[in-house]
Every structure is written in structure tokens, then in C-alpha cells.
């Protein structure tokens, strides 16, 4: 038996198929992954993501420390209730984890991946030496992600008038604290939606109320197809400690200015930038297969670069329920003009596209 979130019984009640996910007993799907996927694209769905790790940062040097720890710059967060996506790099410029950081009325809140929890906390402690900073994990909090075109209305209908008005006014990548609830306009699906970080004790009633109002329960299976359609990276698949953020489509999350900000991994990624300019760093791109067949993680990609054959690899791949054909993220040599994927020994031509497939229910690539 793995660890269980406060919503475990709710998952059983909804008929979930439970799997081990990073040591947690989590719902992979309820009835049909594809129907769950469509529910989020067309209406509203709720995910239990309480297995993810919430870490609150306080202390007089919290900001200075985060400006050192993260490749993105929390100095951009000019007021409470703002959010920023960032990589946490190692000294070689590889990705230790990707995370969201929020500014709170006091200090900061980080949400990091579940599978990397222990090494992340260890890494943070190691890098906190010499800083007046406190790193506090918050296992007593649950996270419900509610996403889809109807999600915000569905959530607001369950809240007090005052809380609902505040949530309706929230912009994208904004968050608010309301008593012991933390409500953020962030997510991992490419749809409008909220992440509700609430005390564990409040989670089951909130879940039941959402389902009661017609919000569908969504498993981790559809979470993966939704994020892949949205072109969002999954840690441990599309990037890891061996991969530069510049080779993982994360260049926009590195804050190079001010040039005297010494963040962990800076020297290494500056070197990667030079390699990239020389065409020596691979890129993370989108691949599309419009005929039958499914692109899958680990499949070999044969790429044509200046008339020569070179290899790449699929880092995430699936059938796209919205597009009704297969899509993938792949790391391929820079300058690749044509790609073929080795599907069970057959080299199948695929199209190279920007790694962003679906937003707000619609196809977004050419």
C-alpha cells in the first residue's frame, strides 16, 4: 500500500482504477480516459493532485535565496498573488525539477513534483546554507485542480459570495489567499481553471460538492494526454538532470537579466547558449503523425540534417483525443528538416511542428 491522499475514498467511490504513482495510490482513470479528457476540454473536470509537494518559504532572505535557487527570477513577482514557472537547475545546468512559485502575503509558496520530492527538499536544504530562510513542507494541504471552460463558474457557485467575486476577478497566473484556502489560476491542461490548495480536512467535501455540480473526476491518464496536447513538459520524461533547459523548450523560463544575478547553474547554461548558437544543442519539438499509429516515449526518430541522417528520441507521445491522431514531444538535432519515427521497425514520416498542439479546446499548430 502506498501513501494516500485525503481523497482516496472519493476515488474508490467514483470507480477509479488505482495505480502506484511515485509511491502514492492514485487514480489513473475512472471509466474512460478519453471521455475524461473531453470532459476537461469541453466542460469541467477535477484532478486530485495532492500527491504534489507544497513547500512554503519564509525568512528575511527568502527572496534573495529564490533568486539564487531558481533560473527564473522571482524579482518579477512584484506583489502577492503572482505566479511564475521556473526550473531549478543543478551546477551543470541540468534540470533538478520544474515548479511553480507563488508570492504570498508573507513569503513564497513552491509546488514541486511528487516523484522528485526527496531530492528537491535535499537540494533546497543544501543550497540554503548561509541564507536566513526557512523551508517548510506542507503535507497537511491537499490540491484539487479544476479545469475546463466551465470550471471557474462551477467552483464559484460553491463559494461564498465574497470568495466567488475574488476568484472571478483572478487573472491568469494570479492567486489569492482566502482564510486557509489558496486559490490559483494555474494548471497543466491548456484550459482555463483553478488550483485549490486547501486543508486536507476540507478536501473530501469540496470534491463531493464539485462532483455534485457536474464536474467530472479526471485521472492521471487524462492529465497526461491533456498536458501533452498543451505542449507542457513532464519532468523525468521531457527533461531531467542531464538535459539543459535550452534543449527542453524552457528558454523562456530563464531570466538572463540582470546579468549579475548568480543563480545556480548560470555558468553552465550560458555555455549551453553558446552551443545552441552554434547549432550543437538539440531542440525539444512537436511531432505529428496524421495517419494511423501512435508515437510513444522512447521511440527512435531518424532526422535529416543538412543531407545527413541523425537520431533523436521521443520524450512523450500519445494519441491526442482532441485531434484524433498521435502527437509527441521529441528531442531532435537542431536544424532537422525531416523526421521519421521507428514504429515497430517501420520508419514512418511525421511532421515537425511547434510543441504546442491544443489550447482552449482548439488545434493551435499549422
Amino acid at each position: 500500500m502506498g501513501q494516500r491522499t485525503p481523497l482516496y475514498q472519493q476515488h474508490l467511490n467514483a470507480g477509479a482504477k488505482i495505480v502506484d504513482f511515485g509511491g502514492w495510490d492514485m487514480p489513473i482513470q475512472y471509466q474512460s480516459l478519453i471521455e475524461e479528457h473531453h470532459a476537461v476540454r469541453q466542460h469541467a473536470g477535477v484532478f486530485d493532485v495532492s500527491h504534489m509537494t507544497v513547500v512554503d518559504i519564509s525568512g528575511t532572505q527568502a527572496k534573495d535565496w529564490l533568486r539564487y535557487l531558481l533560473a527564473n527570477d522571482v524579482d518579477k513577482l512584484t506583489e502577492p498573488g503572482r505566479a511564475l514557472y521556473s526550473a531549478m537547475l543543478n551546477d551543470n545546468g541540468g534540470v533538478v525539477d520544474d515548479l511553480i512559485v507563488y508570492t504570498m502575503s508573507e513569503g513564497y509558496r513552491l509546488v514541486v513534483n511528487c516523484g522528485t520530492r526527496e531530492k528537491d527538499l535535499r537540494w533546497m536544504q543544501t543550497k540554503a546554507k548561509g541564507f536566513d530562510v526557512s523551508i517548510l513542507e506542507r503535507p497537511e494541504l491537499a490540491i484539487l485542480a479544476v479545469h475546463g471552460p466551465e470550471s471557474i463558474n462551477k467552483v464559484c457557485a460553491l463559494l461564498s459570495t465574497e470568495r466567488a467575486a475574488a476568484v472571478e476577478a483572478l487573472g491568469n497566473f494570479r492567486a489569492l489567499e482566502s482564510e486557509d484556502w489558496f486559490i490559483a489560476r494555474t494548471g497543466y491542461t491548456g484550459e482555463r481553471g483553478l488550483e485549490l490548495i486547501v486543508p486536507n480536512a476540507d478536501a473530501p467535501a469540496l470534491w463531493d460538492a464539485l462532483l455534485g455540480s457536474g464536474v467530472k473526476p479526471i485521472g492521471l491518464g487524462a492529465r497526461d494526454t491533456l498536458r501533452l496536447e498543451a505542449g507542457m513538459n513532464l519532468y523525468g520524461h521531457d527533461m531531467d538532470e542531464e538535459v539543459s533547459p535550452l534543449a527542453a523548450n524552457m528558454a523562456q523560463t530563464i531570466s538572463w537579466e540582470p546579468s549579475d544575478r548568480q543563480f545556480v547553474g548560470r555558468a553552465a547554461v550560458e555555455q549551453h547558449k553558446i552551443e545552441q548558437a552554434a547549432g550543437k544543442l538539440p531542440i525539444l519539438t512537436g511531432l505529428v503523425l496524421e495517419e494511423r499509429g501512435v508515437l510513444r516515449e522512447g521511440l527512435r526518430v531518424v532526422c535529416e540534417v543538412d543531407g545527413q541522417e541523425r537520431e533523436g528520441i521521443i520524450t512523450s507521445g500519445s494519441f491526442s483525443p482532441t485531434l484524433k491522431h498521435s502527437i509527441a514531444l521529441a528531442r531532435i538535432p537542431a536544424g532537422s528538416t525531416e523526421c521519421r519515427v521507428d514504429i515497430r521497425g517501420k520508419l514512418t514520416p511525421v511532421r515537425i511542428v511547434r510543441p504546442n498542439f491544443v489550447r482552449f479546446g482548439k488545434k493551435v499548430f499549422e
Binding site: 482513470q29 474512460s32 480516459l33 478519453i34 499509429g293 510513444r296 494519441f319
Partner: protein, 127 residues
């Protein structure tokens, strides 16, 4: 819970077989197999007239999660293919023993049918 109709025979590799009055067999994949695969999105079927060999690959099923080989439960010749599955592969999820059938085979060695499992024996290996 998966269902295991009593009137069918089963291969340990999760295909079912129904023996028809004319001696041909109809085959598909079991309810248990479709549950394990999850939502099915593509199916490759053999051509009519093709010969298949018992326990050899005859078809590929792709679900959102994985690609799986499907094995011929008996040797013989494909006499009919369920073309509707090419456009509606999800039928295998909703009706694995009915409209989700794969193909009809004329067995070349009917004795191979005796090696297949009955519903109880198959249900046991699915536990």
C-alpha cells in the same frame, strides 16, 4: 468486474473464440483484455484470405496507453474481417464479445480448439 461468457473459448493471451455451426470460428479480445488496454484508438487487422498460425501475431491493437500484439487463437484462413473496427475501434471497449469482434477464421486444424481454455479456467488466469 470483467465478464467471461460461458459459451466461448479463450486463449491465455486473452483472445476469445466462438465456434460457429459451419465450423468457422469468430474471434476477438476478452473483456479483461480491453479493460487492461484502456481506450482503444487504432486496430490493424489481417486481410481476408490471409493465413494465420496459432499463437503467432495476427493483429495490433493500440490504446492510448500501449500497443499490444494480438495472437491467432488457431491456425487457418481469414474469411471475414470486421472492417467497422477500423473507423470505430472503441467498439472493442464497449462490446468486446459482440460488435467488437475482430475476424472470422476457417480453422485448418480444428484439433487446436481443444487446447483453448473454458470460461472458468480463463477467469482463473485473469485473477
Amino acid at each position: 468486474m470483467s465478464s467471461f461468457p460461458e459459451d466461448l473459448k479463450y486463449a491465455p493471451s486473452h483472445e476469445w473464440v466462438r465456434i460457429e455451426a459451419d465450423g468457422s470460428i469468430v474471434m476477438g479480445i476478452s473483456d479483461h483484455a480491453q479493460e487492461l488496454l484502456g481506450d482503444i484508438v487504432f486496430i490493424e487487422l489481417p486481410s481476408e484470405g490471409a493465413d494465420v498460425t496459432a499463437k503467432a501475431e495476427m493483429s495490433v491493437v493500440e490504446s492510448v496507453k500501449a500497443a499490444s500484439d494480438i495472437y491467432a487463437p488457431v491456425s487457418g484462413t481469414i474469411v471475414e474481417v470486421n472492417q467497422a473496427l477500423l473507423d470505430s475501434p472503441e467498439t472493442v471497449n464497449t462490446s468486446p464479445y459482440g460488435d467488437g469482434w475482430f475476424c472470422r477464421i476457417k480453422p485448418s486444424n480444428p484439433a487446436e480448439l481443444d487446447a483453448l481454455l473454458d470460461a472458468d479456467a480463463y477467469a482463473k488466469i485473469c485473477e
